[in-house]
Structures are given as structure tokens and as C-alpha cells.
Symmetry: D3
Subunit: 240 residues, 6 copies
């Protein structure tokens, strides 16, 4: 099967590392295709950027020429998943939800460790809407911007571990979720240092997407995610 993994920002190196993490998690026979939007911010750290990404990802997926069996939206806490579900017949998996859902099989409560303080409410909102917040002990910020994860991975691990330890000790989390697509690949190191399961959203989403495809399940089209009604839409598809 082929899974498209859509980065939400326009930084190609981040698409590459996300795709690499997805490939590491995929079963034999699963092809991973990394997708980079044509427009948008170099990193998504707020609502303006995230809304832009929502449209940019819809644009990029619509524009993809070729078949695919599932789509992963690889931004943590971002807008847009519902739009893709309307446009596509294949399953759409958001890493925010895949990670939370996976963490809930592993411990009584989980915490998310993300990048900046300002993105915490976005993640909280996404988990609340998804109905996956009841067992979320906390969403904590490491203080690193998205792009700093790439430029200074050592510091990233250190800061994430510090937050993870507070989450386990102070917030009673038993599982840690990495709250940024750009943290993919750091899970093993953090797990080792913290002694609790660490869930990487991209890897979790690959497992969920593969499972849905194997079970022949996809988005319900009876109401919320029915295809858009035929109507005049100015400026879509976006000009090349």
C-alpha cells in the first residue's frame, strides 16, 4: 500500500526526516511518500500558519498524481484533517490523534511534550475536539521552536527529557507523546532516559493507517465528512 505523509510546513528537510521516520515504522510492502506543501510557513507554530497549512496540504494532496491508500497529516496540533476527510475516500490520519490514541493503550494517563509554549493551547484544543483529552495529564512545552529540533537535536532531547520527567513525576503521566512532527526519530533516546513508553506521532499514524487499510475501513461519508456539495468555488484548485 502507498501512504502519503504530508508535512504541514514548507521545510523540505523536515519532510525528509518525517518520511524517514514513517518508513522506519512501516510494514514491509508499505510505500511512504513524503509530501511538502507548495506554500505556507517554514514551520507551523500558531493558528495563522496552521490554517495556511490546512489549505496547502489539501492543495498538495489534491495535486498528487497517482494512487494512494491513506494520508497522514504529520503536523502535531494542526488544523486541516477534517477538510482532507471530505475531499478523499481513503483514510486520513492526523498524528495528534494517532499518538494520543496509541498512548492510551499503554498507560493510565499520557502527557504531550511539544515545542513552544504558544502551541500548547492548539494541541489541547485538538485533543478536546478529538475526544482524546480525558486521559491527557498535561501538554508541556520544551521551549524549542520547530526548526531548532533539527539544528540542535542534542539540546532538544535534553529539554524534552526534562519535561517528560516532570510529566511523569508531577502530572502523573505514564506515557509520553512527542508533540511535533519534527521530533520523529527522537523517541528511542527519550524512552531510554525516561523509562516510560514514548510515542512518536508519525510512527503511530503509520500503524493506524496501515491497520485501517488492512481492515478495509475508511471515512464515513454519511454526514460530517461527505464530499463537498457541488458549487462554485473561486480560486480552487489553486493556480500552479
Amino acid at each position: 500500500m502507498r501512504i502519503l505523509v504530508a508535512n504541514v510546513n514548507t521545510t523540505q528537510s523536515m519532510t525528509d526526516s518525517i518520511a524517514e521516520a514513517a518508513r522506519a515504522a512501516a510494514s514491509e510492502g508499505t510505500e511512504i511518500v513524503g509530501i511538502t506543501p507548495r506554500f505556507g510557513a517554514a514551520s507551523c507554530e500558531g493558528n495563522f500558519e496552521s490554517y495556511l497549512a490546512a489549505v496547502a496540504v489539501m492543495d498538495a494532496i489534491t495535486r498528487y498524481e497517482g494512487d494512494f491508500d491513506a494520508v497522514i497529516q504529520a503536523g502535531y496540533g494542526e488544523h486541516g484533517r477534517e477538510g482532507l476527510q471530505e475531499l478523499l475516500d481513503v483514510p486520513v490520519v492526523d498524528i495528534t490523534e494517532a499518538a494520543a490514541s496509541t498512548a492510551m493503550f499503554l498507560g493510565h494517563k499520557y502527557s504531550v511534550v511539544t515545542t513552544l509554549d504558544r502551541t500548547v493551547p492548539l494541541i489541547e484544543d485538538r485533543l478536546k475536539l478529538a475526544g482524546l483529552d480525558a486521559r491527557c495529564a498535561s501538554v508541556r512545552a520544551s521551549g524549542l521552536g520547530v526548526l531548532e529540533l533539527e539544528t540542535d537535536p542534542e539540546r532538544a532531547v535534553k529539554e524534552i527529557v526534562a519535561q517528560a520527567e516532570s510529566a511523569v513525576g508531577d502530572n502523573r503521566a505514564e506515557v509520553i507523546v512527542l508533540g511535533c512532527g519534527g521530533m520523529s526519530g527522537l523517541d528511542a533516546q527519550i524512552r531510554e532516559r525516561c523509562g516510560v513508553p514514548v510515542v512518536d506521532g508519525v510512527a503511530a499514524a503509520v500503524a493506524v493507517a496501515e491497520g485501517l487499510v488492512r481492515l478495509g475501513l475508511s471515512t464515513s461519508k454519511v454526514r460530517t465528512y461527505a464530499a463537498p456539495r457541488p458549487k462554485k468555488v473561486i480560486g480552487w484548485p489553486l493556480a500552479s
Copy 2:
């Protein structure tokens, strides 16, 4: 003061009727400017269209030349308000929230009557995120599409009244909220037939926006709605 009232779809006649409703609700001295997005769907009835609108409204507001004191996003149950809050220093008022908030001063529970069945979950989600759902008795669909409200206002009133009566009788609502920007102006007729207060979101938003401006209050910039961090954004501002 000057308030920009942004339609979320590209139908100019709807912008006009929304602006008219806003003017009818405004205090003396308040100037209402209707804004129509440059791109997007003729009506917003789902997530794809709503995400497109979120960006189109940000584009239209950013592009507006002139001063203004507040912005009203005049789509009921739509995405995008958070992005505007990041981009602007003046208050941003979403009609979904203004209407709910207003209804809560008038009765123990309120219900929303909207257009299509498929938009009900979007509205429920927006109210949940806004933390204004605890006293929402129900969100009910009249079965009319957004544009049918304009083309067949008589039927619109009839269907909305039918749903409103069920909301009061079966769901124990005491106040009705009109759940579509395109329903602006129908409130008086519906109130008369149902015997309960009827809140039009556009009018409610004007009152809220005027109040905030008079009190000198605007969006907090300490965390969630801080201005976007300086960074490379491809394709923004959107090309003319």
C-alpha cells in the same frame, strides 16, 4: 468606530445582507464595512470550504486598506477566528460565539437552528472549543442550504420556526440562535412566531464588538494569540 464584517463565502449579495443586518444592530457612530473574500466557495457548508474561507478571510482583512476598530467573522460554525486574532491587534468576534454568549444571558438553555444536517457537527465542535456548549440544548438543521435562505426566505422562516419549536418543546431550549450568517434579518419574524428570544449572530457580534471597543479591550497577546513569529512564509501575502 469602524467594524469590518467579513462574509466567509464569495457571494456578494450575502455580504450585503449581512452588512445590512450589522448596520441595523449598530449604535449611532458605528460604521459597518462588509468584506467579501477574493476566493472560496459560494457558500460554506463543510470543512473544506470553511478552511478555504479561513485563509480567504485572513487575506481579505490583511488586504483592507484603512483603519478599523474590530472585525466580525460572519460565518456560523466556521474555522478561522484564531488566525485573525494572531494577525490583528483589534478585537475579533466570531458570530458563533457572540450569539451563544448572548443567548446565555436570556435563558437557561439555548438551541441553534442551522442550515444543513452536515454542518451540525461543525457548530457543535466550535461551541465545544469555545467552552459555550454546556447550556446548548441542541443544534438542529432546517434542511435548507445556505443559498436557499436568500432564494426562498418564506420557506426558510417556516422551516426554522418548525425546528425552533421542537427545540423549545423537546430539547427544553428557552432561546433560539440563528445558526447561519445568511439568516440575518429573519430574527424578528421567528421571534414573533415562537414566543422566545431569537438571537441573530451578526447583530449579537456587533453589540459584543462595540462593547469591547468602548471598554478598550482587545485580544491578549501573551500566548495563544501572540503575533506570528517572524519567519519565512511562502506565498503570503497571497498574490493579487
Copy 3:
């Protein structure tokens, strides 16, 4: 329009300062009339005093000779608003709810800073009943009694600022609500020191009440707030 602003305690100087704050917030053409109950406690800092105030405010409003367009109950976290809604046909606005509702337009979460530790649960209960608690980050006590706000305003500001800063830093509030009618007028100073929007309940209630009156909206009479059924009531109206 004329708005009655009812103090909940019997301290005339507090009625005066509340009325002054209301006037400062009112639009041109709005007349503010301060109302002091004929009986009750010099300050409301608990349930016994608050229940007494509920009846005393109903007495004072009923006894008011003259027309009016709306009533503001100017006690933060107090009982009684529902009774007034039954007795009156004009809108009744409680400052607890007006302030919370207003704060929710300004930031992702808000905190209330009130007077004594013992009044915190009363406020929490009022917000819970009003369905306005989902985005309340915390209710915090400054440790000052209601009357100390008047006698030592400098210390009041200092203690409120300290709690506001903890609310923003520790509880992730983005907006501060002043949780006592007696704090009216301190908002500008606190806003300046804290860097976040500060909502004074009396001012917020004036804006809400003016908006409702302008929109022609008032309390729904179909169920909860219908006028009391005709029946024998001993001792009401209260003897002069």
C-alpha cells in the same frame, strides 16, 4: 436608556464607586442609577450574606419607582440573579457572568482574582452553573476583604497584581477578571502592570446590558424565568 446597578451590600460608598465605574463604561445616553439594598451585610463574603443580599436586591429593585431598561447585579459570585429574572421583564445581567463572557472573547483562558479565600468556591459554583467555567484557568484570592479594597487601594492593586501574575504564569490564564464589584476602577492600573487584558465586571455588564437593550432582547419567559405563579406570599413585599 436607564440601567439600575444594584450593589449587593449596604455600604453606600461602594454603591457610589460601582455606579461611577458603570458610568465610565456607559455609552452616551445611558443613565446609570446606583441602588443600595435596605438591609443586609456591609460586605458580601459568604453564602449567608449572599442569600440575604439576593432578597434585599429583589426588594430594592421592586421598590424602585420609575422606568428602567436593564438591571445589573453588581456582586461578584453572588446568589440572586435568577430571582430578578423572574420578577422583571427587562434584561438582568450579573457581573460574574458578564465578566467571564467578555474575557472569553479576549484569550484562550481567563482567571478570576477575588477577595478572600472563602469566596473562591462561591465564584467557582456560579461559573459552573452559568456554563462559563470551561475556559476558567483558576479563581484566586488576593486575601483582602471587600471593604479593605476601599480603605487600602494601593495594597489591593499590589496583591491583585501578584495573583494575576501567578494566574498568567502558573495557570496559563491570558486574561484577568476582577472578581469583586469593589475592584471596579482598578482595571487600568492592573492591566498596565500585568500586560494582559483586565476585565472589570461592572464595566463588562454595562456593555452587555446596553447591547441587549439595543438588540431588543430580554429574558425568555417560557420556562425557568417565567413570572412567579400567583399565590399567597407572606411578608412580600417586605414592610417599609
Copy 4:
């Protein structure tokens, strides 16, 4: 031990039947004293009447000459319990809460059957504040006013049974709570006809109060229910 059972309305015959129901439930050695307020409505069916009752019950209990070990507030869904808790050192038991709490030991969900439609929201609010609403399947109105329960007990039983059966069948209740002090004594008949446990609030409150007294437990005085602070209170105690 001696337990004061306070009626919330001024109808002496209702005080008598409440006291009788309390005596029937009491253990040997428990003395029940019925208390009728000096002022207030002939029946409590709304917020205005209930707030008046809150003060009238505080007045009546304060005025009681003699020792007592506990107080029961025998109005279902009424205001006032918190004020009594501040004024007294002995346990105060509200029948709304005692009944709900008792019902929760008997089945997975319970429903309340009360008098008028308009009192339903008051009861819902009291249960929500008490944190006893999570297992409440519904609050349903029989359509009878409080005083009709006395004048037409046969019809009362019939209407209550009809609502109880709907509660069990449609709302999945497994236990019925009688939602009015005036329904005391009807529980046996209703239980027999419905085949589910029926909880009378007055009886339940007697059992709870006796239990608290025997265990030597009373209201915590560390915060919410501490005695009122010493201060000037005009008009209290109320003139004889």
C-alpha cells in the same frame, strides 16, 4: 437526637406531612421537629420564592430555641443549604442531595420526578452544583403544582407513576427519586406500581442526618462554610 426538619414554604399542613414522613423514617430515639418559616410563599416553585425561602429558613432555624443535632432542609431543588451550613455547627442535609446520594447506592442511574416543568432546571442546577448529576438520567415534571399534591393525591400518584415509567423505559433510570418535599409518603405506592426503588428525599435525609450525627461528623469550617465574619448586618436577625 433531635433533628429540625424545615419546610421551605409557609403551608403548615405541608410541614406536618413532611414531619410525619420524617418520623416514619427516623430511628428510635430520634425526635423530629417540624419548622415552618414565618414568611415566604405558600409553595416554592421558582427562584424568587426559593430565595425568599432560603432567608426564611435561616431565620426560622436561628430563631429556634432549644438544642438540636442536625437540620434538614426539606425543599427539593431549593436555594439556601449553604447559608445554613455557615450559620450552624451541626450537620445540614438538603433533601435534594440526600435523595440523589441514596439513589446512587441502588442503581446505575436515577431519575427525579418533580412537580412543574418550570422547576426542572432548578433541580438540574442543584444536582450539578452538588456534583451528583453524572448518574442522573433525567428530571421530569408530573405537571402538578406543589399544593395539588395534597389536594389530589390520587392524581398525583398516577402522574408520578406515568413519569417514572417513562424514566425507566426511555431514560434508562433504575431508581426513582421523588422531587418534592410534598411527595413524602407516596413512595410506597409508587414503588409498588413501578417495580423499582423509590427514594423519598425527606426519609433519605433523615437517614443521612442520623448517620452523620452518630459518626460525630459535621460541616467543615475551614473555608466555604466557616461562620460569617463579624460585621455590620442591617436587618438581621429579622424583626419579630
Copy 5:
């Protein structure tokens, strides 16, 4: 009346002290019979042990020869109450629920102080299912294992008091619940040192059970707790 008080572990001395605490709380004329399971763990401090206890208690109660009027399950936060309710026609009272329910009559919020950190989530889960968690301020661990309570009661009191004080000061609890059957008898000492009401679950359950029996109330049999359907069950009753 006769009440069976079932210990959940196989430590006879703990059964004895639980029965003693029950007797101290019982009314004149109530006979308390302590029950020790035939199998299971020496102490219950986790789910494996608790599930074993659920079956062992059902076995022990089923095997009891003689009449009884109520059963108390004397394990705090343990599984099994629902099974007993299906098997028996008399009331079944779990000490977790009895204590929480009792505490809610005494203060605005309560906290539970239990044994080990690992049992905290079990208690939280039981309170959540029981719908008694809304006013629970916290569940805190003293760090002592169940059996240490017996072997080192002095240290137990000291550690419990320390947690109780944090609960009152930091979590805003106004009442403390002793979260282990083995803490029975320590309540007076802790109450004295903390200045807040302290609820022992075994004593509370005795009062609740006596009340239910006196009121002639028992488990509803219409749905959840109906007797098991007749069917083949291998290995039950368990071999002697």
C-alpha cells in the same frame, strides 16, 4: 439487623480491625459479621489482586450460611461491588462510595488519602464510575503499603496527616477521606491534628447500610443489577 463486612484481602487481623471499626460505628441492635475471603492476596494494592478479591468476596458472601440485611465491601478503590449487587437482594455498600458520598455532605471538596502511589488511579477510576468525582479535590498517596498501616500505626498517622494538610492547603479540600479499609480507627487522631472532618469508609458504609435497611431500600433489579441469567457456569460455586 445483621451486616456482613467483607474484607478484600486474606489477612485475618485486618478483617478483625475492620469489623471492630464497623461495630464502633453501628447503631444499637446492628450485628456486624466480619468476612475474610478464602483466597486472594494478603493485601490489595493493584488490579490483579483486586480482581481476585472481587471473585473471592463473591465466593465468601455466597458461602455465608445465615441471614443478613446488607453487605459492605470494605476495600477502598476495589473491583467487585457490581457483581455482589447482581447476586444479592440486600443492599451492597462499597466503602469507596460511602465515604465519598458522606464527605460531600460535609464540605465543598474532599480529598482521599490512600496507601501507595500505584493505587491512586484505581481509586480515581472507581470515583469516576460512581459519578462521585466532581467534588474530589485529589487522591493522594501516603506511601505506606496496606500492611504497614497495622505494623506502624504511628508512622501511618504522621504520613496521612502530612498528605491531609497538603490536600487542604494545596488542593483546597475541606474534608479528608481515609482511602484504605486498613485505616479504620485512625480517623479521630487525624481529625484532631488537621482540624477538618475525617471520614472513615467503613464507618460511613455502616451508616449508609443501616439507613438503606431502615428505609426498606435495596438494589434495583430492572437492568444493570438483575440476577445473572440462568446458564451454564463452569467452576462456580468454587470448590471447597
Copy 6:
């Protein structure tokens, strides 16, 4: 990898059909081993039977000789998963949770269709504890007992379809979950007739378990699911 799929009842034919459904869902290279408890009820339709099953499944899994990579507990709405998590180091997946979690990727709300009315509350409780209830539209009973599913599959499909249609139409579900291990294999027929995705818990659990194993994730051992403390346990392991 090898996955043990534990039936919760003692009916071997049901174990066989569950194992068959698991095999149909499994990836190449996954071995499914069906496990039948040595004791317990022929079907689990209540708490007594479910608690017995909890211990019987722990017994059967502990007794299994051979390696395995994950365990699936194949009873819908049953007790016991937490005990297995303590006893094992490999992932434990409950079909109740796997199905709900999977359904949430497919639509805005899901409903569960189960067997008997009396098992509905058990399932509601399990979903509530799992924190997966926020998007559950309803749990509905088909009226068929567990064993009737096998003896009369045609009627089973008909009754399940009827409930599924009500769930979609009346409760606004967009996805149906089959709420009984014994319904495995009926999903395709029901999906075809209802036009919405239908999730079989056993199949979903296989996908989840495979995913966890592939990602190298297992139960957190830091608190709730740590191995039982070493202590005397009478009667365990159970005698052969």
C-alpha cells in the same frame, strides 16, 4: 508475531469464531492463538460473569506455555484488562477500546450495538473509564443474547442493522461498532446494509496489537500497571 486472543466465556465454538475473525484481520506472519478460559460462564452478560471471566482469563494467559507478543481480551465491555496489564510485559488490547479508538478515526461520532439491554451500562462504564466516550453517540441493545448470535445469525444481522440505522438516524452516529466478541464476522454484511463503516472489535484489536508490537511499544510499568508487589497470595496460581 504471535497474538493470544482470549475469549471471556467458556464456549469453545465462540473462541473458534473469534480466532477465525482475528486471523482474517491479521497481517501475514501473525499467528493467532485462541484461548478459552478453564472456568466461567458460557456467555458473559453481566458483572458477576464478567468478574469471573477477568480471573479466568488471567489464569488462562498465565498458564499458557509458549511465547507471545500481545494479548487481546475479546470480550466487549468486560472487566479484567488492567489485571492482565500488570501481569504481562507485552501489550494487552481490549476489544472494547480498540473498536472505539478505531471508530474515532472514521467519523464524527460512533455508536455501539450490543446484545442485551442489561449489558449496555457495562459498556458505557468501560468507555467512560477508557476516556473514549466523548464521541460515543449511543450504546444500543439488539435484544439478542450472546449465544443467540451463533444460533441465529440471520436474525442477529437483522436486529443489529435495525439498531444501527436508528443510531445513524436518531443518535447521529456515523460509524457502528459491533459490541460483542460473538458478532465478529458479521461486519461486512452490516456495513453493506447500513452504508456506514462497521468496526468489529476483534479485527480492530488485531490491527492495534500488531501496530504496538511493530512499534516496539508496550504497557508502561511506572505506576498503575507495574507488576504486582511480591506478597503472599492464597490460591494463586489456581489449582489445575
